[in-house]
Symmetry: C2
DNA sequence: ATTAGCACTCCAAAGAAGTGAGTGCTAACA
DNA sequence: TGTTAGCACTCACTTCTTTGGAGTGCTAAT
């Protein structure tokens, strides 16, 4: 054996569902009442014993009920919950329609998601890799400072103030602008390589050193992997006793606050092509401090290969069904929202 | 009586200092050894009894040592600690010199401050009231979208994408830019009133409606009270047992995460003119959930009346001396940094 | 194959007892 | 009169024990 028969599956399902609700280890008696297949607790016990041997469930200590192991959750996620319709998409529309800058939309989304799910959430700005430059402009802000504005596909606007040592008259500025625009427009970040740069410099002729400075600035601005991450609902984790322990909670919240580490979650899931939804259970997560949690991430797209990521962090016994529903909804909405000009 | 004699003051000082270090209620015996004036524990007990009656210290329960009351802390802050030199200003310089956009500087500062003090910190962007427009520019990003860039004093850059229904040729754009710049430059927000706007529209002649749209956009962008607040070190509060309680910690962190409420701290302290440093002890704080904490805020300035605020949130027994030193340092540095062009 | 019954395990909550830091008070002392 | 020593008392904390109950595994009966 290695296979689960129908009955074992039903029992496993029941165990997990019950555990999701209560957060307490679940005993044979409970299940014997819960399921439709009428079985006595003793029978359940036997089956449970099997399930434990197979590694789907675990006993925290000898005489406690069982809780799902990571493998159990995995089975649940993979096989047991693809059969249900999804949740309402409440006020999401509203929020998205009524805010403006991407940054704010994202913050809002994170917050909302945290509120509706009661888990901690995170969301990243779309990664520009593959995003194209749409428009570049330099202007003199005052005598010594140059402002570079770069607009990317998707109306992602970046600014950079560049200090100038050298004089720069209006005519030159105009020329530079034309040059920059005609060269850079339509290019994606990886396409702006050394070749492009040196060619640009060449064309700039006597102003090549200025172009150099400017390009450095521009390059830095564009390529600065500005993977902003917004989080929300960190305090939700206090709602789950199994995470409430000071040390765990502190580490978790720290991770959420620092954001740094969260990036690892994202980059990984951005690679992944298929459904776009990724589930990390316990140790599967690349972040050590989250080994007592589960993380569900999803990807949203901005058309031109710009991808961002939304994630939900909660206890292992999170309501995967609901969470995945929410995420699916959300990403599809984000997709459509960002595609039209804001 | 009502007055504290020299000896009582010394004892009170000793009590508070000891409590600040240990976090434990402090007993008579400890003090009798601590102070230079050699007194037996019994004498101290008598004095403590008096101090308690006067409301400066408090007993958590009948047979515990004493801890300072809010009034005690207040006395300490007001009278007891103005006599000491300040702390080093470690790597602050470094960080500030090496980052660029204001936003990032602020984030860095918050983080650094949290790390060096071991408390939670917050910092706001300078409030633009009084800030002047330095430079305005409109550019066509594509056929239907106009990008407005506004640079404020202090190199605060704001962008707004404005959808256009109407055609707009290059020449007109140029004219508009000149018009906008010559009119708006040097004006502070409150100075851009209806009068200015209608005058502008008039001058724009046949393009008055476009100017209208643009100005609306600009106005909205500028005046949006973008009081961003950055926080850091939320998890530091777990370092203090008296705040580690789940409920308190959760509320506190929530407040820090939500930021919303923090604004009340700031607005208040921005009014205050004198030293610029404000101390809220326990209930004195406008934020209810912080009644078990103390909050110290300071104001930094950008010359033109643009003010921002830095704050430190910690346990009541925070090291006021050090904190205030840090803040003083920091604000004076921020002041000078932001005044020169970045 | 299922179930009832029973002995056994073990956590968790509730008590019990000891410990120690701290107090208040009184009486003695300088 | 201010200071101190001494003593009985309080009360949180820790440790140990007890107890109750939920849960298991096994065996024998259905």
């Amino acid at each position: 054996m290695e296979e689960l028969d129908e009955r074992k599956i039903k029992i496993l399902d029941a165990i997990i569902r019950t555990y999701l609700e209560t957060g307490e280890p679940v005993g044979s008696r409970t299940i014997s009442k819960y399921t439709d297949l009428n079985l006595s607790s003793a029978t359940i016990r036997n089956e449970m014993s099997d399930l434990e041997e197979l590694g789907y469930i675990v006993q925290p200590h000898t005489s406690a009920g069982r809780i799902p192991s990571d493998k159990g959750y995995r089975f649940y996620v993979d096989h047991l919950l693809l059969r249900k319709d999804k949740e309402i998409s409440d006020m999401k529309e509203f929020v998205i329609e009524h805010t403006e800058k991407m940054e704010q939309v994202l913050k809002q989304v994170a917050k909302m998601l945290a509120q509706t799910t009661n888990y901690a959430t995170m969301i990243t700005t779309p990664k520009s890799t593959g995003g194209k430059v749409k428009f570049v402009q330099l202007s003199m802000v005052d005598e010594e400072q140059l402002l570079a504005v770069i607009v990317m596909e998707g109306n992602l606007v970046k600014n950079k103030i560049i200090p100038l040592t050298q004089e720069l008259d209006n005519e030159t500025l105009l020329k530079l602008n034309i040059l920059l625009n005609s060269t850079l427009n339509g290019l994606s970040i990886p396409e702006i390589n050394l070749g492009t740069i040196s060619k640009l410099k060449e064309q700039a002729g006597e102003y090549s050193d200025i172009v150099g400075i400017v390009l450095d600035g521009v390059a830095e601005t564009i390529s600065r992997e500005e993977l902003e991450i917004y989080t929300s609902g960190a305090t939700n984790i206090f709602k789950y006793p199994e995470l409430r322990d000071t040390k765990k909670a502190s580490e978790l919240i720290y991770a959420l606050e620092e954001k740094q580490q969260l990036a690892s979650l994202v980059t990984e899931s951005l690679q992944n092509e298929d459904t776009g939804i990724q589930v990390y259970i316990g140790d599967e997560s690349p972040i050590q401090t989250m080994k007592d949690c589960s993380v569900v991430t999803a990807t949203y797209e901005l058309g031109d290969g710009m991808k961002g990521s939304v994630g939900i962090i909660g206890p292992k016994r999170m309501d995967y069904e609901k969470v995945m529903g929410h995420l699916k909804d959300l990403t599809s909405q984000l997709d459509s929202i960002f595609k039209k000009p804001t």
